[in-house]
Every structure is written in C-alpha cells, then in structure tokens.
Assembly symmetry: C4
Homo-oligomer: 198 residues x 4
C-alpha cells in the first residue's frame, strides 16, 4: 500500500456530483418544441437518440467508476488529477451530444463525439493505472483488471468508428452503440473478485 | 442474500444527485417574464402548474426510492441498471413538463407527459423486483411490497389518463393529480415493517 | 422518541444536493454581456445585486437546515414532506431573483420575491415543528427553538416589506437585506446547547 | 480544540455539490455551433480555452478544499460562512469565464476574471485561517500551512496579471495559466504531514 493516502469518500462524492449534473443537464439541450403537435416532437428525434446514447455512456462510466473505486482503499494527488481529467472529458459530452444531435449525425459532429469518448477512455485507463500503482500490483483491482479485454478493445473500436465516419457517419454511430452495448453489462470480474476476497 | 453484493451508499448518493438536479433544473424552464407586471407573471401560470405537479412527482419518487433502498442491504449490476433506467425516465420529466406547460396542457404534450410517468412507474417496478430478487423473497422489502396496491393501480390510472386525453387533456391532467395525491403519503408499510424489525 | 424513524442521512444529502444546485444555477441567469466594455458589465448590476442577496438567503437556509437536522436523530414521512415543501419554496428563488433583477427591483417582482421568502419561512417553521413533534418536546432541538425570536420576527418583517413595496420597492428590498443580516450569524443557541449536551 | 464544533461532513457534502455544479454548468455556456463544419467548431476555440482554464481552477480549489478539510476535525459558524464566501466567489467563475471566452480575451473581461480569482484566493485564505483559529495553532493544518508559499504568491501574481492586462490581456492570461500550473500539483505538505501524524 504505497503513497500517503487520503480518504476516497470525497473523491466518490465529488465524482457522483459531477456525473449526476452531466447526465441531467444534457436534457436541457433537448429543447421542447414550440408546437403541441406530435410531428414537432418527432423532429427532436435525432437529438433524443443522441441523448439516449450519451445517457447510457455516462451511466456506464458511473458504474465502472463505482466498481473501480469500490475495490481500492486509498487515493493520492495523482489519482485526484487522473479523476479530474476523466470528469473533464465527460463534461464535454453534453456539448458534443448537442452538436451531434442538432446536426442529425453529420460527419464532423460524429467524429468529435467519438474523439471525446476516446479521450474519456484514455482518462479511465490512466485513472485505473494510477490506482493500481498506489494500491499495489497484488491488489484486488490489479488482478481484476489483469486482462482488461474491454478496456483495450474500446479505444480500437472508437478509432475504427472515427475512421468509418469519413465513409458514412452512421457506421461510426453504429460502432459507438456497439461499444456501449459491450460495456452495458458492468464489469463482473471486479464484483466477483471483491466478493471472493471478503 | 444472493448475489455478489456491492455497497448501496454510492447508488443512493448518485440517485440523490440526479434527482436533486432534475427537481431543480426544471425551474430554469420557468422563464421570468420580461415585464414587471403581475399580469405577465400570471401568463406563466400553466408552466408553473406543470412545474408544481412535476416537483411533487419527483419528490414522491425520491421518497419512495429512499424507502425502497432503506430496507435493503445489497445491490448488484442488475439493480444499478434498473436504477439508471428509472433515472433516465425521470430525467425526461423536465422536457415533458416544459412541453406540457408551454403549450397550456394541449393533448399531445399531456399524453407524452403521461407516457413518461408510466415508463417511470414501470422502471420503479423493475427496480423493486430486482432488489427483491437479490435480497430474497423473505426480506423486509418483499413482505412490505407483498400487496403493492398503489404500485399496481398507478400504471392503470396512467393508461386511463392517456386514453382520456383524447377526449379532453384536462381529464388526463386530473387523473395525474389523483395519482400524485394517492402517493403523496409515503409508503408507511415499509416504514412500519422496518421499525418492527429493529 | 416517537414515530417509526428512518435515517436522516439521505434527507441531508438530498437537501444538500438541491440547495447546491439552486445556489449555483442562479448564476446562469446572470447572462454575460455581449460587449467587452466595463459599462456593459455595470448594466448587469441590479441582476448581480439580486444574485448576491439570494445567494446569502440560500446560504442562511443551508446553515440553519444544517443546524436543525444536526440536533435530531430521526425523521419520518411528515418530515420528508415538510422538507420537500421547503425545497420547493427555495427552488422558486432563482425564478423570483431573475424577475426582480431583470426588472431593476420594480414593485411586483419585489413583492413576489418577498412572498417567496415568506413562504420559505413558513416551510422552515413547519419543518422545525414536525421535527420537534417526532423528537419530543424535551429534545435539544425543542429547548433550543423554545424562544425562537428570529423565527417569529422574520415573517413579520417580510410582511412589512411586502406592504412597504407598495410605497417604494427599495424600502422592501432594504427590509429583506435586514432580515438576511439578522440571520447571517448562524443560530448559536442550538450550537451551544448541542455542545453542552455532549 | 476551541469552539462549539459541529460536524464537517455536511460542509464537505454541500461544497462538493456546489463545486460539482459549478464545474459542470460552465459547459452549458459552450453553445454547440449550428453548422456541422469543423470551422464552426474552431470558432468556439476561445470559449473552449477559457472553459479549460476554469475547469482546472475549480479542480484545484476542490483538491485544495479536500486537503484543507481533511486535516481538521471541527467546523463552526465562522467556518461555514468563510466557506460560503469561497463558494460565492467560485460561483461567479461560470459568468466571468463566459464573458472572457465570448469576447476572445478582451481587456475588461480578462481583468474581471482575474479579480474573481483574486477574491476566491482571499476567501480561501480566510477559510484556512478560520479553520486554524478553531483547530489550534498546533494543529496539523497550522503546521502544514506555516510557510504557505503558494498561498502568498498567488494573489501577488493575480494582481500582477490584472495590471498587465492594461498592457495586453494575453500577458494577464499567461500569468493566470502560470498560477494554475503552480497549483496543479496538490499541496503535498499537508498530505505528507497528515501521513506522518497517523
């Protein structure tokens, strides 16, 4: 158990707060149509679709963050900043979601959305590894993340999606949905190992 | 007590955060009138009425969520996602409230508002049952929810309200108010049983 | 210690969340001027003044809420709803603040702002008394609130302020500032008694 | 250990909530461009740059706040209000950030941004010293802050930056970035001393 070590409670509380605000303010970008007709609502369809995808992604990050922090005892300054970097990447999601939804999944917005997800994936990787470095290679966390299959596949898929957007943005969107679907089931490896240890 | 079991503290904290943001950002849709006259304020009446109803509904969901989680010890991945689904349904409330209020309780907005409430009711049902599945049929929660009268009546009333909106949206609105009134008193069954057990 | 009794932790957490959002989203109504001149900033002066007053009021309510809940052990359904009613009154503060600031402290906005504060004061009174009813007349809280001088003076001052607004809204504004100044020092009575008991 | 002493948990929770909302709602000011072109996105460059700087500053304040409160046991009414004053100064950051970004780092917005940072620095100083006063000159905190080099240098740099803005606002911006860089590494002195004491 290396490092000075400060309590993880406030890190979780602050992250919960930021993620709760991110996931909720996105709905403010879904402007209610001025007309009361169903057709007016359907025009908000692409923006709604982008909202659903981003809600699922933030939900996945919250779940994974929950699992990641659950299995560690200590955090330090490096972890705080890796966490802040992750929150920064995710704080841009309402912006990229809005741009993508408003422009009906046009090429550049879909690319920038994918770049943001890619950056968030890198930030999560940095956070996980700063936690392993602090809590030791033998920790529950290190063993659980040992063969982090999904963690490696996601950035490859994001890069593939971004490249595919130059052919057609809908292919990129389909790949992002695939990544979300892959992560939808929370990481049972950590949950199982944590259960075994206690 | 089946399942791996992870702490419920962060689930509550995250839900509190999301519900706190939802209940508060709705007021941002209540745009202050540009004129300083009382008549200008009265024009915001329908939007205000929609806000009050939604505030009460989110308050009810928070209270029921509080009671639901209070009586369980463990959550798992399934519970996390059932909870996320509930939060998603409720995150749309500011949108549907704004659409309904701005359009002075026109038919389609009132129907969509009811559909959102119906969906949230289904999500709460799924959350309750994923908790019972994890914590056992003999748990305090399972016994308390045993004859979940209001839980069954609410969706029937929502569907009735949605159907009634095709006759006149005000009937639907009246039925939604009725459901809110019915739930206003928090579920004393759980509270009473929890008190008896300790 | 009457009543079923459920944990107060989540009530505090939810209230903290709602008050944190209320106090912060008010700044969204302070629209940054489009010009980069200092004169453009000064035009936002009345809106800024209204923001400062409301920030202080929400801060006072948070402090008093902190002290109120600190000295009790249990909450029940009645307390939850009294608390929700208080949060509802305070959730309207961003709206009334915006209306008052945008209209440079005109009569009706100043009256409605005072009515909202009056309503919040009533809600706090109801919350305090539902807590006393649950925790007993002999509780630390009941003794501390025994001669609740400021709690009785505030509504009288609000009503005086609202009446004075019909003469000139600036008099009403001055009275609201007076109430804020009176409450600025947190209620040391509870703090002192709580310290004495331990 | 002077003073009545009330729990610090809710102070942290409320501060976390407010800082989480501040850091996140700033992104709402980053309006997604209406066109789907990359060039439209680049026009949002200055606003984005201002957002990044403010995100880092709020992150620094959260980290320092975390360290500051971590090493104390008790808070009192004076601490609550020093903390509220800090939160007030930081709540203006979304406003000053928006004004600075929208006006592409023009002179007055850059000056006002610096004044806000200066005020927040003063507020943090007041908070730290009200905590030392309550927890004693011999406390871990007092020793850690004993030679508070960065705490003294920051306001001098802010004042220098504000003065430099009259020559060219970009110099001021560069100095603000310097202060952020200086604080980026969280205060290891407290972390080290806290570790030594336990």
């Amino acid at each position: 158990m290396a490092g000075g070590g400060i309590g993880k409670g406030r890190l979780e509380a602050f992250s919960d707060g930021v993620l709760a605000v991110i996931i909720t303010i996105m709905v403010l970008e879904l402007h209610a149509p001025h007309e009361a007709e169903l057709s007016a609502l359907l025009e908000a369809g692409p923006a709604f679709l982008a909202y659903v995808l981003s809600f699922v992604f933030i939900g996945i990050y919250w779940n994974n963050h929950h699992h990641l922090l659950h299995s560690v005892q200590h955090v330090n300054g490096r972890v705080l900043w890796a966490n802040n970097f992750l929150l920064f990447c995710l704080s841009l999601v309402p912006f990229t979601t809005d741009w993508m939804g408003e422009n009906h999944f046009a090429m550049w917005p879909v690319i920038v959305y994918g770049l943001d997800l890619l950056l968030a994936g890198v930030a999560f990787f940095l956070l996980a590894h700063s936690l392993i470095r602090l809590n030791g290679e033998d920790s529950t966390l290190a063993r659980a993340l040992g063969s982090d299959f999904k963690g490696w596949l996601s950035p490859i898929l994001y890069i593939g999606g971004i490249a595919a957007a130059f052919i057609h943005p809908y292919i990129a969107f389909g790949i992002y949905v695939l990544v979300a679907a892959m992560w939808f089931i929370p990481d049972r490896r950590i949950e199982r190992l944590a259960g075994r240890d206690r």
